[in-house]
Amino acid sequence: MAYDYTPFPYTPPPGLTHAEPRHRVVIVGAGPIGLAMAVDLALQGIATVVLDDNNVVSVGSRAICWAKRSLEICDRLGIGERMLAKGVTWKVGRNFHKGDQVYAFDLQPDMGFKYPAFINLQQYYVEQYLIDRAREFSDLIDLRFLNKVIAHTDCGDHVKLEVSTPDGDYPLEAEYYIACDGAGSPTRERMQLALDGQTFDENFLIVDVEMETSPFGDHATPERWFWFAPPFHSGQSALLHKQPDNIYRIDLQLGPDTDPKEEATEAKVRPRITAIVGDAPFRIDWMSVYRFRCARLNRFVHNRVIFAGDSAHVVSPFGARGGNGGIQDVDNLGWKLALVLQGKASPELLESYNEERVEAADENMFNSACATNFMTPRSSIERLFRDQVLALAARHPFARKLINSGRLSQPCVLSGSSLQTSGSAPLSPGHALLDAPLTGRAGPAWLVTEAQGRFTLVTANDQPLPDITGIERIGIDQAESCYPCFADSEGCFKARYGTAHIYLFRPDGHVCAVFDTPDVDAIVTAHNRAMGATQ
């Protein structure tokens, strides 16, 4: 059944009749990134005004693949379990060359994680869940639909905005302006900031179809199928994915010389779909023709205006690094901006958001560009290498490693960040936390649910953790203590973290320091460094 795009109510904002007090944060764009940002800040007691020029969720499925790390972040935001319950969990990917399977992979053979490697869930559901969640913070999140920002000026210590509504225009002021207004960001346009990177000549057709009969045939579990040069779509590439509600995502490479307007028509698309799914009946739910870019802003932080998500960086979709990259932007920025607004950290801490997320965007762009190049060879020699990789892959493991139908989103390792204290451990500083099943006094628990959102010391060694202001503590297999302790009931924590180290996690779940002993001075120094203090 087609998704019900019920419009959100528009209420005339107070600014139309009288001047509003200066707000702490205004978020421009109520897509998944803007909404996640509002919820993240609300969880830390920071009020936001969210402005969106539209009044419905994303039309069309758009971002559909949510990686484990994003689900763990959404767990912290309070919608992870709802996404998991609705989403389609898949972990097996199959790559085909012409008619034959050349390689299949299993994304997550290890057990002991609350969330799977990936789920598929339409962007409109994620936005709906985030809006439901945001409405639980009615005193902190002011959602304003049909409020279009038409001008903004950075005044040094605040930003002035001009907002247009169906009832006229009004001015607004905020200490920080977060631009989550998407790939075509009007904020970016107004500031005349360019996205630099690579544009691909190929057009891709993206179609969602609804059908009762699975196009995966007898394969009962949902998978991801990718074809290089399939027999049904000569010389090009094709991708097939399952979403909830019997919706299937199909991506088809169309070549560089096609007319996007002509291709995105039911008459042109139906025969292409029939060639893949056979004679089974289907309904076209949404379609679009894209030409991909891998590009980013030079800087994501421009004094009081901060870019997050597609407004800051765009990637081709192979690897699911757009939506997932944006959710990680939020995770990185949320706690830093909250600390700055609470006066607990200097505004310079925000520079580390720029540093860390620019590095992550480069990693995402590298991976997305490599995948797109592999599936769209630009010269005969490139095609020759590509086809021989595929030919050798049937027998040789090394060639399977070279096949690239998308390197699926992994959390960025922030090892070079100025906030990290260098050290060595099974999970070294810079890495995002690895989940583990635990058992507490209240029953089963997960590390991702217990250890995120605050600075937290975690250890499975037998030395008691010291009490330090601003740092939570979690003991694993420790004797009863004055802080929460859990049993490593399945041994996963010890397998992933060992017993020799004490880990200091940042609120975004990245390890920022490791210690051999509970040395208070060393922990305080590392904590201060992670909050941007310069020694």
Binding site: F366, N367, C370, N373, F374, S379, S380, I381, E382, F385, V389, A391, L392, R395, H396, P397, F398, A399, R400, K401, L402, N404, R407
Partner: protein
């Protein structure tokens, strides 16, 4: 012979470098570059038995 992966995490970076090396070359220049690469890589392998095995393996199922 079955060739196990030795490139590890560097696989994509290697492939990108290989394709970049060919960028802008004519087909004849690409052939020349490939010949040089084979000779230089063979010298780096430096093991005649292994090279002979690779030749045999690479010749299998060669398309017409």
């Amino acid at each position: 012979m079955i060739l196990q992966d030795k490139l590890g995490e560097e696989a994509d970076t290697f492939y990108k470098a290989l394709i970049s090396a060919h960028e802008g070359l004519t087909e004849a220049q690409s052939h020349t570059l490939n010949a040089r690469l084979v000779l230089m890589m063979a010298n780096q392998i430096g093991d005649l038995g292994m090279l002979t095995d690779i030749f045999e393996t690479a010749l299998q199922d060669l398309p017409d």
